[in-house]
C-alpha cells in the first residue's frame, strides 16, 4: 500500500501579524484506497488542512503531496485528480441541479454530450433525478449536500476531500450520506474526511487523526484510540442485598478495586481480560446464586477518547495561551 496523501509539518498562520496559528506542525499520511478521518473541535484547523491539500491555500511552511504531486509546486496537476466538497455546499443556487452539473462537467473539460451523460448518471446515483430541473434554492440541506458531492465526483477523482459532509443534516440525511460515502470508498477512492462527530469517524474511517490547536494529538484506528484511553470495563447491576457479595467476587477476580454506585446498585471494574473476565464473573455469580439484572462489557466511546485527549491538551496549553496571548483568534 502506498501513501496517497502526505502532509509534513504544515504550518499556516492567519492575520497581519501571524497571530492566528491555524496549523502548527501538522503531519499526516493517508494510504491509497483508505479513508482517513480528521477529527477535531471547532477551530482546530480541519478546514485549513483540507484547503491546503486541495491547493486553495499555500502553507507558510511544510510540505504536502497528493498522489505523489507537490501541492505547492504543481497545484494544477493536483486539481486534475482531486474532488473537493467544502464545508458549505458550494453550488450555484439560482441554477438547477442539472445546470450546475453540466457547468462543472464542462469545466472539467468533458464534451457537451459527455457532460450530459455524466450529469444524468450522478443525479440518478444521488437520487436527485426528480429534482434535476429545480433551482438549488428549493433543495433541502441534504439534497444540496448530495449535489455538492456529485459535483466533486464528475471526473471520478483519485483523491477526495470532504469537509464536514454531514454537518447540519438530520439523522436520515446523515445516514444517506454515509451510505453514499461507503459506496464511493468501495469504488477505491482515497478519502480524507473531516468531522466533529466521533460516531461518523468510527463509521467511515480506517484511520482517525485527532487534531486540536492545529496539530495532531492522537491517531490510530477507532479501536486503538479507545484502548489508548483506557481498556474495557465490566459493569453490572444486581439487587441491593447482593451488592457487597457481587463486589467481592469481581474484585477478587480482576484483582482490582471496583467502584460502586449503591443507588443504582451498579458495580464497575476495569476488565483488562475482557470477555474472559465477563464469562468467569457470570460463572461465579451463578455459583453464588446471584442473578445479575444487567451485565455488560463497556468500551470507552470515542466521545470518552475525545474528551480525554482534548481535555488533556487544553490543560497543557493554558500556560502557553496566557504567555503568547491567545494563539487562536476567532474569525
Amino acid at each position: 500500500m502506498s501513501a496517497s496523501i502526505i502532509a509534513e509539518d504544515l504550518v499556516k498562520t492567519y492575520g497581519a501579524h501571524h497571530e492566528v496559528r491555524a496549523l502548527d506542525g501538522l503531519s499526516l499520511t493517508v494510504n491509497e484506497g483508505t479513508v482517513l478521518s480528521l477529527l477535531g473541535p471547532n477551530g482546530s484547523g480541519k478546514t485549513t488542512t483540507v484547503r491546503i491539500l486541495a491547493t486553495l491555500l499555500r502553507p507558510d511552511s511544510g510540505r504536502a503531496q497528493v498522489a505523489g504531486i507537490d501541492v505547492v509546486k504543481n497545484p494544477q496537476k493536483v486539481r486534475e485528480i482531486i474532488g473537493l466538497s467544502g464545508q458549505y455546499a458550494a453550488v450555484d443556487e439560482t441554477l438547477t441541479g442539472w445546470d450546475n452539473l453540466i457547468m462543472f462537467g464542462r469545466l472539467y473539460h468533458l464534451s457537451g454530450r459527455g457532460a450530459k451523460v455524466r450529469a444524468a448518471e450522478l443525479l440518478e446515483k444521488f437520487s436527485l433525478t426528480d429534482a434535476a430541473k429545480r433551482p438549488i434554492k428549493t433543495y433541502s440541506g441534504g439534497m444540496r449536500r448530495r449535489l455538492d458531492l456529485a459535483a466533486s465526483l464528475i471526473v471520478k477523482p483519485k483523491v477526495l476531500f470532504l469537509d464536514e459532509p454531514t454537518t447540519g443534516l438530520d439523522p436520515r440525511g446523515r445516514q444517506e450520506m454515509w451510505e453514499v460515502i461507503n459506496e464511493l470508498v468501495k469504488g477505491g477512492v482515497t478519502l480524507l474526511l473531516t468531522t466533529q462527530y466521533l460516531e461518523e469517524a468510527d463509521q467511515l474511517a480506517d484511520e482517525i487523526v485527532v487534531i486540536d490547536h492545529g496539530h495532531v494529538i492522537a491517531q490510530g484506528t477507532a479501536d486503538s484510540l479507545k484502548r489508548e484511553v483506557g481498556g474495557e470495563r465490566l459493569e453490572l447491576s444486581v439487587n441491593s442485598e447482593n451488592l457487597d457479595k457481587a463486589k467481592g467476587i469481581v474484585e477478587r477476580l480482576t484483582n482490582s478495586v471496583a467502584t460502586e454506585d449503591s443507588q443504582m446498585h451498579k458495580i464497575s471494574v476495569a476488565a483488562p481480560e475482557g470477555t474472559r473476565t465477563l464469562i468467569e464473573t457470570l460463572r461465579q455469580l451463578d455459583t453464588a446464586g446471584i442473578q445479575p439484572l444487567d451485565i455488560a462489557l463497556k468500551r470507552p466511546s470515542l466521545d470518552d477518547v475525545f474528551l480525554a485527549l482534548t481535555g488533556h491538551v487544553a490543560e497543557e496549553q493554558i500556560e502557553e495561551v496566557v504567555g503568547a496571548k491567545s494563539k487562536r483568534g476567532k474569525r
Binding site: 486553495l56 491555500l57 482531486i82 453550488v91 450555484d92 443556487e93 457547468m103 464542462r106
Partner: protein, 263 residues
C-alpha cells in the same frame, strides 16, 4: 484556447442565471430607463443648454453612467460567489486561473449590450436623434462597451477584496456616483465652482461623454479650459484611461483571484 473555453462556460452560467431569474435583467434595465425619463422630463427643463436640445446631450451621459456602473455589478457578482464558496470550488478545478474572472467580465459586458439596446430605444422614443453616420453611432456604442469592460475589471478587484457582498455594492456606489455627477454627463460643467471644473474636465466619465457626443455628431461644449488636452482630445484621453484601467486592474485582479481566501 482552453482558457477561453472555460471562461465562456462561466459566462454562459451567468446568462443562464438571467434566464432563471429574469427579474435581475428587468431591474438592471429599468433603472437606466428611469434615469432617461427623469432627466428628460423632470430635471431637463431646468438645465440650460443653448443651441442644442438637452436630450441629445443627455443620452451619451446616461450611456456612460450606465456602463460605468458595471464596476458595481461585477463586484457584487464576484463577492456573492465568494461568499457562497463557489470561488473556492472553481479554484479547486483544473481550469485556467483567469477563466472565472474573464468569464464574469464577459458576462457583464453581454448584459451591457442588452441594457444599451433597451436604453437606445427608449432614447429614440423620447426624441434622441444622433446626427452622425450609422458607422459612427456604432463606434460610439463599441466605445461604451469597452469602457464598461475596463470598469468591470476594477469591479473584479473590489468584489474579491471585500468581506461581504453588501459592502461591495455600497463601496462602489459611494465612489461611482460622485464620479458620474462630477462630470459633464448631466449638466455643463460651467455651472460648477472653478476647482471642480478642472476635476470634471479630467474625469474619465467626462472624457467618455465628450467622446461619445462627438461620435454621435454633437459640437463639443467646453468648460473652463477649452485648450486642455482632455477637452481637445476626449476620445484619445478616454482610450488612455481605458488602457490604464485595464493595465492596472487586470493583473491585480488575476493575482488576487489566485490567492483569494474567503473572509
Amino acid at each position: 484556447m482552453n482558457a477561453m473555453r472555460d471562461a465562456l462556460v462561466i459566462t454562459k452560467r451567468q446568462l443562464l442565471q438571467l434566464l432563471r431569474v429574469p427579474e435581475v435583467l428587468i431591474f438592471s434595465t429599468i433603472q437606466p430607463v428611469m434615469f432617461v425619463l427623469l432627466f428628460r422630463y423632470v430635471f431637463g427643463g431646468a438645465i440650460n443648454t443653448p443651441g442644442v436640445d438637452y436630450v441629445q446631450l443627455l443620452m451619451p451621459g446616461i450611456f456612460v453612467q450606465t456602463v460605468a456602473f458595471t464596476v458595481a455589478s461585477t463586484a457584487l457578482g464576484l463577492a456573492e460567489d465568494m461568499q457562497k464558496g463557489l470561488i473556492d470550488r472553481f479554484r479547486s478545478l483544473p481550469i485556467s486561473r483567469s477563466a472565472v474572472v474573464v468569464g464574469r467580465t464577459l458576462g457583464d459586458a453581454t448584459l451591457n449590450v442588452v441594457v444599451l439596446i433597451v436604453m437606445a430605444f427608449t432614447g429614440l422614443l423620447v426624441g434622441w436623434r444622433p446626427s452622425s453616420s450609422l458607422f459612427e453611432v456604432f463606434a460610439g456604442f463599441l466605445f461604451l462597451l469597452i469602457f464598461g469592460y475596463a470598469m468591470s475589471w476594477m469591479g473584479v478587484l473590489v468584489g474579491l477584496s471585500v468581506r461581504d457582498s453588501r459592502v461591495a455594492n455600497s463601496a462602489v456606489f459611494l465612489f461611482v456616483f460622485p464620479m458620474t455627477f462630477l462630470s459633464n454627463a448631466f449638466a455643463p460643467t460651467t455651472g460648477m465652482p472653478r476647482p471642480l471644473q478642472y476635476v470634471a474636465e479630467w474625469n474619465p466619465v467626462s472624457t467618455m461623454v465628450a467622446g461619445v457626443r462627438d461620435l454621435f455628431g454633437l459640437e463639443p461644449i467646453f468648460g473652463v479650459t477649452a485648450n486642455s488636452f482632455p477637452s481637445q482630445n476626449p476620445l484619445i484621453m478616454s482610450l488612455i484611461y481605458i488602457g490604464l484601467l485595464m493595465a492596472i486592474f487586470i493583473p491585480l485582479s488575476v493575482r488576487k483571484y489566485k490567492n483569494v481566501t474567503p473572509k
